[in-house]
């Protein structure tokens, strides 16, 4: 099994991002997903900066994948996507159908990102025809749903793509045209001051009785809990996962990767450090602690 660092959902200052990925050159990770996947207004790094980072990481022996925006609205965003596809040196993570279409038209392989809604083997087969090489299931797809899909694909004679599962990080739950960070700070999205940069792990949202619940990250909503499938690694291996994905966080990402690397090398599960992922067992995503 390989280990990957997923695209960073958060917005960090330029120097922090550069330092993070320079450090990643030495982290025990095989695949690094780069690029802005949440908001095209975030421009601490431009496309050329991301490509320069991609070259640095590739020179350090990492497989680099460029992640596309999850929600594409403007033609300028389509233009940026097209430049990424045209560059041609790196695999693309397609996070919406615009990216699938751009890759398909250019004859370039892609990773199907977790927002593509691949719920059945037929959809998987169609995307394979389009050039999908690797599939990252959606956050709500747990063990049984993935197993059932892969079994059905195998029965239908479909050559399976690589399977990449999110094993660590906050789960991305929703996307909107609205910027919830701007709303919370009472500024207009068109004049937002890029203030999501103040919240390197998202802006915490609690229920009225004080329970941490969600994180606001621009147009994206994440779950509060950092999910940790470390204890389920043997099941994940049995399911046929080829890649384990760690989602970046402001602190200790290198340590998290090192933990999972050790687990891969020893073929052993890990004690849980984060929260359980309820989706894995087919329930609600959050780590259910009934509050009465």
């Amino acid at each position: 099994m390989k280990l990957s660092l997923g695209p960073n959902p958060y917005f960090w200052p330029r120097e922090q991002t550069l330092a993070f990925y320079n450090a990643a050159c030495d982290w025990p990770v095989d695949i690094v997903y780069l690029g802005e996947s949440i908001c095209s207004k975030r421009r601490e790094l431009r496309t050329k900066d991301w490509i320069a980072l991609a070259n640095t990481l590739a020179a350090a022996g990492k497989e680099v994948v460029l992640s596309s925006l999850s929600l594409v609205e403007a033609e300028s965003e389509l233009g940026a996507l097209q430049r990424m596809v045209d560059d041609g040196r790196f695999l693309i993570e397609a996070n919406d159908l615009s990216a699938v279409q751009a890759c398909r038209r250019a004859g370039r392989p892609f990773v199907a990102g977790p927002t593509l809604n691949v719920y059945n083997h037929r959809t998987l087969a169609l995307l394979l025809e389009d050039g999908m090489q690797r599939w990252v299931p959606g956050v709500e797809q747990g063990r049984e749903l993935i197993r059932e899909l892969l079994n059905a694909a195998t029965e239908a004679g479909v050559a399976l793509p690589e399977l990449e599962l999110i094993v660590w990080g906050r789960l991305a739950l929703a996307y909107s045209a609205r910027c919830f960070t701007a709303r919370a700070l009472d500024v207009a999205k068109d004049d937002c001051g890029f203030r999501c940069i103040e919240f390197p792990d998202g802006l915490p949202l609690k229920t009225r009785d004080g329970q941490p619940f969600l994180r606001i990250n621009g147009i994206q909503i994440l779950g509060e809990d950092v999910c940790d499938l470390g204890p389920e690694l043997l099941e994940i291996a049995a399911l046929g996962a080829d890649v384990l994905r760690v989602i970046p966080q402001a602190e200790q990402t290198g340590e998290v990767l090192a933990r999972f690397r050790t687990a891969i090398e020893t073929s052993d599960a890990l004690p849980r450090l984060g929260h359980g992922n309820g989706y894995w067992l087919g329930g609600p995503g959050f780590d259910v602690v009934p509050t009465g």
């Binding site: 999850s70 929600l71 594409v72 609205e73 403007a74 389509l78 919406d96 159908l97 615009s98 279409q101 927002t115 809604n117 719920y119 059945n120 083997h121 037929r122 959809t123 169609l126 995307l127 959606g138 956050v139 709500e140 059932e148 059905a152 694909a153 789960l171 739950l173 929703a174 996307y175 909107s176 045209a177 609205r178 910027c179 919830f180 709303r183 919370a184 999205k189 068109d190 802006l203 949202l205 609690k206 229920t207 009225r208 004080g210 329970q211 619940f213 969600l214 606001i216 909503i221 779950g223 309820g278 989706y279 087919g282 609600p284 995503g285 959050f286 259910v288 009934p290 509050t291 009465g292």
Partner: protein, 332 residues
């Protein structure tokens, strides 16, 4: 412009036809559509009767099969496509590629509309769906500004339908797991959002009420405050010490003032949300939009929003509030 109205049962379908809907969209009584609520939707004979009534008036019936099919259930969704074709539906509305692919090969003459759940927001995405599955129309997600809708109409390979009125999903449709995260009941897979079986209302000592969704406090209401249905996106939460509707207020979309602009942009059809609503809602809302569209087509230069239209629509809106939502840039 076609007026596409919702119906969750035969009385609502009849109300839509009586009030002048060009098309009525419906769903089967199972998880194949995104309004899979108890007591709602149609048996096959009811739907056949609805199609008969619509066709007798020269109107159309669309059947929404717009949830995503898990592998183990794909046959059930495909069978629903066969049933829709057998009943004589004028189109299916679908999002899942496995369902669209089946429909396109098995029933090539049954038009396929891309559901809002398909999350296609660009010409590229629409081109993909058109190339792959021959979609005849697409419903745009409620995320685009009116300028972006105009641009989409200009460059789309297929005619476009947009939401005109009704409850406002503020997230990209097909991409929201908030209900699923809290309850396990998923809009994408089960066709439900925050189902009632997970909702618990409690009276508080001060006369107010609190509402939990599967144990998560979504909001509290004073004794005098109107209490809305507890979807996560319309609850009040604490962000940075301030309690407010952090995602959205309980409000409905109303695009009436944009009607001439949507028509000029070349929007093919206007969709009214609300298959879960009753015949009174469907009839009155349909009547207002019929009058507005007819007035615009009769005399565009003298068209203006009538206050009685807006009053009727506001009366049917969540919290009696309406918004231009994402069509208006300031909403973003």
């Amino acid at each position: 412009m076609e007026l596409v109205c919702p119906a969750g049962n035969l009385p609502a379908l009849q109300a839509a036809l009586d009030a002048g809907a060009d098309c009525v969209y419906t769903g089967f009584r199972d998880q194949t559509n995104a309004r899979a609520f108890p007591g709602l939707n149609f048996t096959d004979p009811e739907l056949a009767e609805g199609v008969r009534r619509a066709h007798a008036l020269g109107r159309k019936v669309f059947i929404a099969l717009n949830t995503y099919a898990e592998s183990g259930k794909l046959k059930e969704w495909q069978a629903a496509v066969d049933r829709a074709a057998g009943i004589g539906a004028d189109a299916i509305i679908a999002a899942d590629m496995g369902v669209l692919d089946y429909a396109c090969h098995r029933h090539p003459d049954l038009p396929r509309h891309l559901s809002v759940q398909g999350s296609a927001t660009t010409a590229q995405a629409l081109t993909y769906m058109h190339d792959r599955f021959g979609i005849a129309r697409a419903v745009l997600p409620r995320v685009l500004s009116v300028q972006q809708v105009e641009r989409a109409c200009a460059v789309s390979p297929v005619p476009l339908e947009v939401f005109a009125f009704g409850s406002l999903c503020i997230m990209v449709e097909g991409r929201c797991q908030l209900s699923s995260y809290v309850t396990g009941a998923s809009p994408n897979r089960h066709g439900v959002c925050s189902p009632a079986r997970f909702v618990r209302w409690d009276e508080e000592a001060d006369g107010g009420r609190s509402v939990h969704l599967n144990g998560v406090l979504i909001d509290r209401f004073d004794a005098t405050e109107p209490a809305g249905y507890p979807t996560v996106c319309k609850g009040r939460f604490d962000v940075g010490g301030e309690i407010f509707h952090a995602l959205e207020e309980p409000t409905s979309l109303n695009t009436m003032e944009l009607l001439p602009r949507l028509k000029a942009a070349g929007v093919t059809a206007l969709k009214i949300e609300g298959r879960q609503r009753g015949a009174a809602y469907v009839g009155q809302v349909t009547q207002v939009w019929r009058a507005a569209i007819d007035a615009l087509e009769r005399d565009p230069s003298h068209w203006s929003v009538q206050s009685r239209w807006q009053a009727t629509l506001a009366g049917h809106a969540e919290g009696h509030q309406t918004t231009l939502g994402p069509y208006h840039r300031a909403w973003h």
